[in-house]
Structures are given as structure tokens and as C-alpha cells.
């Protein structure tokens, strides 16, 4: 099967709507079919990978730890827009340190999160063959 460049664009905060969780589930399903999968976190989507999420007070399942499994599915390009962070008073330090293990380098841990500018994000989005929006 020919692989294509799949992009999942995430623009919503988690928990208030179901978009974030739906996106994550679709990403895991698509990744099981060995496509080249990237994720973009733009606008409120950056909250999806904010560290320290605690849902005890709202009685919903905390699915933030599942982003750490993406590396196992060979999904290791998580692009985060710098301007989106800044507009929300956030920095890269507010994000989970999501890593993937490089099997070709004795399972060396490498960061999956890549902070990019809005202009770089536009270029990345333009390169994709299939784009899903959440």
C-alpha cells in the first residue's frame, strides 16, 4: 500500500468538546495502517498537549497520557504553533515532553514536539496530501 502524508489539524481545547479525543482515536487507527502521520496543534489545540492535566474535578477521562503512546505508532511529528502558545500566555515549557524511541539508534529517546512559527506551519500544511480537521 502506498503511503501518503496524512495531517491531523487540532484546533480545539480538550474536554469542552469531543474533537480532541475523536482526533486522537482516528490518529491511532490511521497510524495502525502505517501511513506517514503528522499532527498540528494550532489555536486552542495547544491545550491538548498541555502538561499537568488533571480531570478529577470534572469527572471525565484524562486522555493526555495517550499522546505519549504516539511514538509507538511511529507518529513522531507533533507540530505546535509558537504564536498560538504566545497568544494564550503559554510557552513550550507548558507542554508535555512527548518522546519517541528510535529503533535504529538503540531506542534512543527523541522529542516528538516541534515548535514552529505560523509561517512554517503554513508551509507544513501545504505539503500534506490528506488533511483532517478537528
Amino acid at each position: 500500500m502506498a503511503t501518503k502524508k496524512f495531517m491531523y489539524v487540532n484546533r480545539k481545547a480538550p474536554y469542552g468538546t469531543v474533537y480532541a479525543l475523536e482526533s486522537l482515536e482516528v490518529v491511532l487507527i490511521a497510524a495502525a495502517f502505517e501511513q506517514e502521520v503528522s499532527l498540528a496543534f494550532i489555536d486552542d489545540g495547544v491545550y491538548q498537549i498541555a502538561k499537568g492535566q488533571n480531570t478529577d474535578g470534572i469527572g471525565m477521562k484524562n486522555f493526555s497520557s495517550t499522546y505519549n503512546a504516539l511514538g509507538d505508532y511511529e507518529v513522531n511529528k507533533l507540530y505546535v504553533e509558537k504564536e498560538s502558545l504566545e497568544e494564550r500566555g503559554l510557552t513550550a515549557d507548558d507542554l508535555m515532553p512527548i518522546m519517541w524511541e528510535d529503533e535504529d539508534e538503540d531506542w534512543a529517546e527523541k522529542p516528538s514536539v516541534r515548535i514552529v512559527s505560523r509561517a512554517e506551519m503554513a508551509d507544513i500544511l501545504a505539503e500534506q496530501e490528506v488533511t483532517y480537521s478537528f
Binding site: E25, L28, I29, A31, A32, E34, K61, N62, F63, S65, T66, N68, A69, D72, Y73, E103, W107
Partner: protein, 110 residues
């Protein structure tokens, strides 16, 4: 559907997966295996325990491909292949082992 373990009914869905993951005990895994004429060996338990740890950390049941690779890394290359995993879980390592481990069906499994 209900499974009876130590005289108590345990609720499962139509495919035999636990309705409530938090009620899982090793006895439940044994009872599920017995229904499918499987005697759980230490090798089975290695995989079941691995799946439970994976779920605890990531909140998902891994896809078979991910499970195979991760088992290879953790338990050795001789075990990290589908032939070995299918020999233990002939109904499919994802579906069958996840069920015994009290996990939901792996994401992407139909």
C-alpha cells in the same frame, strides 16, 4: 453476558470484554481463558501483565503491531513476533490477550 468468578457475577459485553475495567482480578483472566479452553501459562501472563502496564501508562490498548514491537523490546526478539504471540493467543493477540487483561478492545480493531 456474565461470567461467574468465585460465585460472583462479572459483567462483560457481547464479545466477552469486561464492562468495568476496574473490577479485574487474575481469577477473572483465568475464568475467561477457561471458557476458551486455554490454560494460562507464565508466558501468557507475561503478555497479560505487559498489556496491563501499557494501559496503566497510556490509557489505551496497543494495536497488534505496537504490542509486537514493544514485547520484542521488553521480553526479547524471540517473543516480539506475531508467530509467537499467535501461538499463545490463537484468536489474535490483540483481541484475546486484551480481553483476559481486562482491557477494552484495541483501538483500530474491528
Amino acid at each position: 453476558m456474565a461470567l461467574v468468578v468465585n460465585g460472583a457475577e462479572v459483567a462483560t459485553d457481547e464479545e466477552g470484554y469486561l464492562e468495568d475495567l476496574s473490577v479485574w482480578t487474575p481469577e477473572i483472566a483465568d475464568a475467561m481463558a477457561k471458557e476458551e479452553d486455554v490454560d494460562l501459562s507464565d508466558e501468557h501472563w507475561d503478555i497479560i501483565n505487559f498489556l496491563r502496564e501499557y494501559y496503566e501508562e497510556y490509557q489505551i490498548a496497543p494495536a497488534v503491531r505496537v504490542l509486537t514491537k514493544a514485547v520484542g523490546k521488553k521480553l526479547g526478539k524471540d517473543k516480539g513476533n506475531s508467530k509467537y504471540l499467535y501461538s499463545l493467543f490463537p484468536y489474535g493477540p490483540g483481541k484475546q490477550a486484551c480481553k483476559y487483561a481486562g482491557l477494552p478492545k484495541p483501538t483500530g480493531c474491528v
